[in-house]
């Protein structure tokens, strides 16, 4: 993950998305992100993001003893957090679509084309990425 500036903004949305799936904690978020390919993300990057989200009332923080002993923070998403996630996904789609159109003009990608599965999030659950692949002219 070399491009730190690019990553910072995206990570916040991804962390929020992981938390939106159900109550979770730091280690689980890190493992989940790693599973999706964010393998260079450490706690040093994650903690400030979680603190920022907590201060912005996007997530709720509950402390409880972990099975291994220390007090652990469990995070869950708030209504405000859901709104922020929706807004992030909308903006992300827009940016990705535009960026794809600029970066891959030879593939005929149009700015109004669905860019990623995130589109499905707003369009009733259909995986539009599959559709997009079939629509791209050969």
């Amino acid at each position: 993950m070399e491009d730190t500036q690019l990553m910072k903004g995206i990570l916040e949305g991804c962390v929020l998305s992981v938390i939106a799936r159900g109550e979770t904690y730091g280690y689980e978020i890190l493992s989940e992100l790693e599973r999706y390919g964010f393998d260079e993300i450490g706690e040093g990057t994650l903690y400030p993001i979680l603190t920022r989200l907590d201060k912005g009332d996007c997530i709720l923080c509950r402390r409880a003893k972990s099975p291994l002993g220390p007090v652990r923070k469990y995070y869950s998403i708030t209504d405000r957090g859901r709104e922020r996630l929706d807004s992030f996904i909308r903006n992300y789609q827009k940016v990705v679509r535009s960026a794809n159109a600029v970066l891959f003009p030879q593939e005929g990608v149009q700015p109004d084309m669905p860019a990623c599965p995130a589109d499905a999030y707003h369009k009733g659950g259909t995986d539009l990425r599959m559709k997009r692949e079939s629509e791209v002219p050969e």
């Binding site: 890190l30 450490g42 972990s66 002993g69 652990r72």
Partner: protein, 400 residues
Amino acid sequence: MKDSYYMYKDKLQGEYLQTLDKVELYGRVCGIENKLYNELMMNLTDLLITAQDSNKPVDKIIGRDVEAFCKSYFEDAEYTVRDRISEVPKRYIVWVWITFVMEFLDMLFSCMDAEEGFSIWTVTTNISGYLFGFLVAFIIFGILTMAAKPFVFRVKRFSSRLYDWLVFTACVISVGMSIFFVDKWAIQVPTLAVLILYAGYLLMYYGIRACHNYSLYGTWKKTEHIGKPDELYEFSFRDMVRISVDQELPGEFKKRFDKENQRRTKRNKPVMTPEEFTKELHRESVRAKRFYHGFAVGMVLFCIGSSIVSMITESVMDGLILFGILMAVELSLGFVFQRGVTSDNPRERLLRRCSELGMNVIEYADALAAGTLTVSEEEQETPPVSNSLQSDVDYGNLKE
């Protein structure tokens, strides 16, 4: 007792422990406020223990560069300049209280020894010690922090113990320099002015804190007593029994037992059996109680004796004041010792009840949770958990 990351540190081993040590030292050098520091360290300890448990390498948690991790973890953790500034009054409140009481006593004694024509403004204090002490301490600790930070990761042998020694040396130098400056440049100021200044500081501190708490929580009380619902640790009675049984009793017992036997082996003495060791512990506890009681009686006799001497040599008033001060000190010490002596009572009662029922503690907790047993009134009065957790103990509806 407040939960601290330190209690779980011994669960870490090898590179996990080494990493935590380095991060801990860096955090200390950064001078972050204690509450935030403990929270950050607790979070990291939990992560490292979980990683160790699932055999995940340390670099997957904190990355390959520990120094970069520390910078990001401590310096980006929303600890702003505003936070640092708002920390200052809190940091000096104990010092202000001590000096306020000292100056007040000094003033009181001066008034009592006063002769004719005495004015309250004639009592003065040499403030050069405070001024230069502060200045020197500020400079020395500033230099120490700035100088120590780069060495945390550059010098392998730079440890918390070495840093403690450096801090101790800096304290000695600060005190020495302030004593030197007190003699060199005396700045005499009326004690009353100093007292007014300190009183103003204390009033402002507590006033602002009360207003702040009122605006946030709707009460004037100290925040530690409020307990925000989302920040309360969630413990059930059963959890507490588990923690107590798994960690405190056998852990502590085994540690002391092993240590005692190691000592005996070194001295070529026969090793103790667990039964012998238990009896020895009991004898030790009885001896400790006797010592505390004897100590308390001795202190009272000392107070009375010193006061009588003071009454004879000085005046009755001086003797009474001395008696009051000594008794206040003794009662405070006695209170602390008494808490230590009686803190084992709930646990003793719990163990006695278990032995009466022929159960171990976990079986007892399970029986309580299942509702097949009722808690005796004696235990309900003093639940077998630490003070900070008592509010979460529910004897009626035990959580699984």
